[in-house]
Symmetry: C2
Subunit: 180 residues, 2 copies
């Protein structure tokens, strides 16, 4: 598959300014994931707040990668990725994947490789290994669609406290944050 | 533009089961939006937890619509949509857009039309009006990419309490849910 299958990068008329667009999204929260990939020249890991489930059958998820991310060139070339869906406990991992200029794999006790070769962080309560089935250029980012192949599932008995990000802050959802 | 520009609906090898895929995503939270559209035969409104910002310049956002949603045939044909990004206060609106078999526009005091014709719910703290620039079939859903044209921006002076959804429950993010 080519690095980008379809292109939506160029010709738009006048739209909302970048500042207004960011402000409109200021209060929109998102779940947090760390995505890993490796094309043979060393693994990459990036924190993403754009992961969502698109279809359960076939099982497809989507995320976007910005041209500004150091992990993007690798994810552009990768055949497979691992998407770690994080709980509040894994907040240090989320911060690691969002910190510039550090070796995100320096602590070799924190990660391992699957039999299929991909890098995983076992601390994550849930992860999905999948094949990239489409890449779509969209402005300064690429939308990546992934077909889920394999997963580590969360323990249904565990009390869940999902990790959430908004407006540059990290939050944990608990019974206290629940409405109604 | 055709209803669906690119197709990713069919041929995948064996993947994760639908049940396991849903379980993996169980603890993944999402911000909440209500999307409205109208192609001339009456407005539709649907609650979506798949909205994310893809690119600020040009300003592009993405969401997905399931084949099972009653609003999908209209959004498939629409040229423009309004994406309302909700705070906890607008929780009744989110429930309205997620309730089957009700007339979501019965209370005519809750909505109005923009000069450009689209339906908006003014109670939302922020909304974005945009043009649909791409539709991509992905399994049982369609990925919709929107170029933002106009917005109602949140008041930066307002204390924000974003509305979040996970595992069939609604949550509000506040200072109490903050980590670190």
């Amino acid at each position: 598959m080519s690095a980008v299958d379809t292109n939506l990068g160029a010709d738009f008329g006048a739209g909302l300014s970048a500042d207004d667009f960011k402000l409109a999204f200021r209060n929109h929260a998102a779940g947090v994931a760390v995505i890993t990939a490796d094309v043979g020249d060393g693994p990459v890991a990036m924190t993403a707040t754009s992961v969502f489930s698109v279809s359960a059958e076939p099982p497809l998820l989507v995320f976007s990668i910005s041209d500004m991310s150091s992990s993007t060139p690798t994810i552009e070339q990768a055949k497979t990725v691992v998407v770690h869906l994080l709980e509040a406990e894994q907040y240090p991992l989320a911060k690691l994947g969002a910190t510039h200029g550090v070796d995100r794999f320096a602590d070799t006790t924190q990660w391992t490789r699957l039999p299929t070769g991909e890098v995983v962080f076992p601390a994550a309560h849930a992860w999905i290994r999948g094949e990239i089935v489409q890449r779509t250029r969209a402005g300064q980012s690429i939308l990546v669609t992934v077909h889920a192949l394999e997963a580590k599932l969360p323990d249904p008995a565990d009390a869940a406290a999902p990790l959430v990000y908004y407006n540059r802050q990290w939050h944990a959802l608990t019974e206290q944050s629940r409405l109604g």
